[in-house]
């Protein structure tokens, strides 16, 4: 199943980024809390995401992992009743300021949802529509970006002869890869992924997982997953969420090896060891 994946494309405009071994913060989150109405979804989250690394967010359902993700591209403000307090720094930019240009932010911070959600348009339009919106009006350039993005996710060979087919005729795994292609076509710096494999069958899930691992260093990735084995395979860092007093809270975070081999908190140990959750 690896053969349909891109191995390495030297033609890609890879930005030179520090390796994961030399952590440099890309996102810094301080004391972030989120309330839906009067109920806390999560409280006092403090987390740093390192540039070019994959950070996995693990923990039970309902402890605010998805909501946390949505704070980082300010998508949360589209949810009625949600109010966020705390600080989020993206590079040196303070995201909580009202003046933050959200459209630009959401181009730099892409998001992949749990359920593949291509637009009900053709495969080509799915990728070209957002590009057009972001001011890429030259059709030849759009076509280049389209091919490169689809190649990056290993979809080009599968769909190059039917770019005008509706995107919803693709299989689930292909749709999810199309969504990833749609996000990386905009050349973001960060990708937020909300359980991108959980609605896929094991084979497609494996393909998407390998794809995500191949994005390391090119993008900063924050991935929510319920699959601990997956987190262990692809993540450089793991952050563990748990429910405390009815609200999500960050119990422990650190390098994957440390979390899995020497967890500091007994809740983490229990969750990792399969005793709880």
């Amino acid at each position: 199943m690896n053969k349909e994946l891109p191995e390495f494309y030297p033609s890609l405009p890879l930005k030179i980024r520090p390796d994961c071994c030399e952590p440099s913060p890309h996102f810094q989150i301080e004391n972030l809390s989120l309330k839906y109405g009067s109920k806390f979804a999560f409280r006092n989250i403090k987390l740093t995401l390192n540039r070019g690394c994959i950070t996995a967010l693990v923990g039970p359902s309902g402890c605010g992992k998805t909501s946390f993700l949505m704070c980082l591209n300010r998508l949360i403000e589209l949810i009625p009743g949600a109010s966020v307090t705390g600080e989020i720094f993206f590079d040196t930019q303070d995201l909580m300021k009202a003046k933050t240009p959200v459209i630009e932010l959401r181009r730099k911070v892409g998001m992949i949802f749990q359920k593949p959600n291509p637009f009900p348009q053709t495969i080509r339009k799915n990728i070209e529509f957002p590009l057009k919106e972001h001011g890429i009006l030259d059709p030849i350039k759009r076509r280049e970006i389209l091919e490169r993005a689809l190649t990056d996710v290993g979809l080009w060979q599968e769909v190059k002869d039917r770019l005008e087919a509706p995107a919803l005729t693709l299989s689930g795994g292909q749709q999810q890869r199309l969504c990833i292609a749609r996000a990386i076509a905009l050349e973001p710096e960060v990708l937020l992924m909300d359980e991108p494999c959980s609605s896929l069958d094991p084979i497609s899930s494996g393909v998407v997982e390998d794809l995500i691992a191949s994005l390391r260093q090119r993008f900063t990735v924050l991935i929510v997953t319920h699959n601990l084995a997956q987190a262990r395979r692809i993540a450089d860092y793991v952050a563990f969420f748990w429910l405390e007093d009815g609200a999500g809270s960050l119990i422990e975070s650190g390098p994957t090896k440390q979390i899995f081999n020497e967890p500091r908190h007994k809740l983490t140990a229990a969750y990792i060891g399969g005793l709880r959750g």
Partner: protein, 138 residues
């Protein structure tokens, strides 16, 4: 008179569009107006067209049918089976057939407007109440 049908069906059509479209559109940094134009409206198009067809159909068919079904009599109906006249027919009659009936025609038109407004606001409130009971609000 046909606007309520059309508006209601358009609204329902827009509401039936999966919320993922606008969420994923926003996540790609697409502006709200473009999401509405390129994603929501095309998806809601069938309902909008149905609304248009129903509305236009009603407008075309209604007046003539009313004269024959509810009647064309210029007095207060005595029972449910008695003949009467619809307000729209009444307005037409006053303004076209009765000399100096304009003032009364305007008054009737005003009454009709108030009635439509009243009925619409009641149904809106009721549907809101029913929907709240049926769907757990997020």
């Amino acid at each position: 008179m046909v606007l309520p049908i059309m508006i209601r069906l358009t609204q329902e059509g827009l509401r039936a569009v999966p919320p993922e479209y606008s969420l994923s559109g926003s996540a790609l940094g697409i502006s709200r107006s473009q999401i509405l134009l390129h994603l929501l409206l095309p998806a809601a198009a069938p309902s909008v067209i149905v609304g248009l067809v129903l509305g236009v159909g009603r407008a075309l068919a209604e007046t003539a049918a009313l004269v024959f079904t509810s009647g064309y009599v210029d007095r207060l109906p005595q029972s449910l089976w008695d003949s009467g006249r619809a307000l729209s027919v009444h307005i037409y009659d006053l303004s076209m057939n009765v000399p100096g009936g304009e003032t009364s025609a305007y008054k009737s038109a005003f009454t009709l407007l108030i009635l439509v407004f009243f009925i619409n606001s009641i149904t809106t409130q009721l549907t809101k109440l029913w929907l709240q009971k049926r769907i757990i609000l997020q």
